[in-house]
């Protein structure tokens, strides 16, 4: 289970960085919000597709 969580987290981090690289927001707030949103979406969708248990 830990491995799954780690993989999802890594995928979320990579997706966040990719989004940051693609969009390049101008403000610090925009960068932070983008990373949080993309991380949440990727890990959330990842958990739906690949349940890690309770």
């Amino acid at each position: 289970m830990l491995m799954k969580i780690g993989l999802l987290g890594a995928a979320g981090l990579i997706a966040s960085l990719a989004a940051l690289f693609w969009l390049r927001p101008d403000t610090n707030g925009g960068q932070a919000l983008l990373m949080i949103v993309v991380f949440a979406i990727v890990t959330g969708v990842g958990r739906l597709i690949w349940p890690t248990g309770s």
Partner: protein, 341 residues
């Protein structure tokens, strides 16, 4: 049991919200979309028609356009410099040929379209002939005129502009309010930064992007002071341009704006099936995005206007909209958090 139902509904909600959010984001890019290569969208009495090379509809619309051009004369472009000239070129400015083109014997009215190559030159009374600063081959191999994107001010009494190959307008939907002034100034600065002033260039085939203003002869207007240009914006010209460009009755005037709207040739504005280039900047806020849009704009309007495209999907426009959305809300959230602590 209740837990399971709650978890299942949460998952379903997430799946429903994700595509909805993506759709909402991308919907803002409608006015900057593109069709597949080789096709253009034209408007037949407000009805969009996608025309490809071998389309019967295209032939029908072409016939209508030629009939219109037989009635409404238009200034023509002189032959590009790539064409052989019997007379030697003058020593000064050899790249620009401002002599009127020789009339083509037996050429049908409207045969020599801007961007369509030489051969159909017809002299228009009172109109100054255009020079061709550069020449490049068009898709069908014939040399085409390269337009130059420039900026200029225009007063309401000067509308419609004459003696230009085509023109565009920076069209706002409202005058600048106190909370919007900085955004308007950002648009103005981007406009100044990306387009050359018309007075900096010799007479040529120009595609002028106008900034409507009440009086363009004041010292502030002459030096293009953005605070002055924003404060004295001629809203009537902007709203009229938006109304004329809104062929699909999409309610463009009710959006935030501004819009960049262009017509080529210049007298095609009131032609029902004229090709119009519209860029919607409603979703954008940062100066960088405005500069990028104006760079795109400059590229689009100097491309062959026959190939202006509308409809489809534009990744760059979506990227700008998402970026500005995160910038707007992220910066607001960060300021809220820092003000609380």
């Amino acid at each position: 049991m209740a837990d399971r139902i709650l978890i299942a509904s949460r998952a379903a909600l997430a799946w429903a919200l994700l595509p909805a959010a993506l759709l909402a984001w991308s919907a803002g890019a409608n006015a900057q979309e593109s069709t597949r290569p080789g096709c253009v969208t034209r408007y037949d009495n407000g009805r969009p028609v996608v025309i490809c090379d071998d389309d019967d509809e295209h032939k029908r619309l072409q016939g209508r356009r030629e009939r219109f051009e037989a009635v409404v004369p238009r200034p023509e472009l002189s032959p590009p410099v790539a064409a052989p000239s019997p007379a030697p070129a003058p020593a000064a400015r050899p790249r620009f040929d401002v002599r009127p083109p020789p009339p083509a014997a037996g050429a049908p009215a409207g045969a020599g379209r801007a961007g369509g190559g030489p051969g159909g030159g017809k002299a228009t009374t009172g109109a100054r002939p255009y020079a061709a600063p550069t020449a490049r081959p068009s898709a069908n191999g014939a040399p085409a005129v390269r337009l130059q994107a420039v900026r200029a001010l225009i007063e309401p009494k000067e509308m419609p502009p004459r003696e230009v190959a085509g023109y565009g307008i920076v069209a706002f939907t409202t005058l600048a309010l106190s909370h919007d002034v900085e955004r308007y100034k950002s648009v103005c600065e981007a406009y100044k930064a990306t387009l050359m002033s018309q007075s900096d260039l010799p007479p040529s085939a120009q595609m002028i992007t106008y900034w409507p203003i009440g009086n363009k002869n004041t010292p502030e207007a002459q030096r293009a002071d953005c605070a002055h240009l924003v404060a004295n914006y001629a809203i009537r010209l902007g709203l009229e341009a938006i109304a004329d460009a809104d062929k699909k009755k999409e309610g463009l005037a009710s959006r935030r704006g501004p819009f960049l709207i262009a017509w080529a040739p210049s007298e095609s504005r009131l032609v029902p099936d004229a090709v119009v280039l519209v860029m919607d900047l409603s979703q954008l806020d940062t100066q960088r995005s405005f500069v990028e849009v104006f760079q795109d704009w400059r590229q689009h309007i100097t491309d062959n206007p026959e190939l202006w495209q509308r409809g489809g999907f534009n990744v760059e426009a979506v990227r700008r909209i998402i970026r500005d959305t995160f910038d707007r809300y992220g910066d607001g959230l960060l300021r809220l958090i820092t003000s609380k602590t």
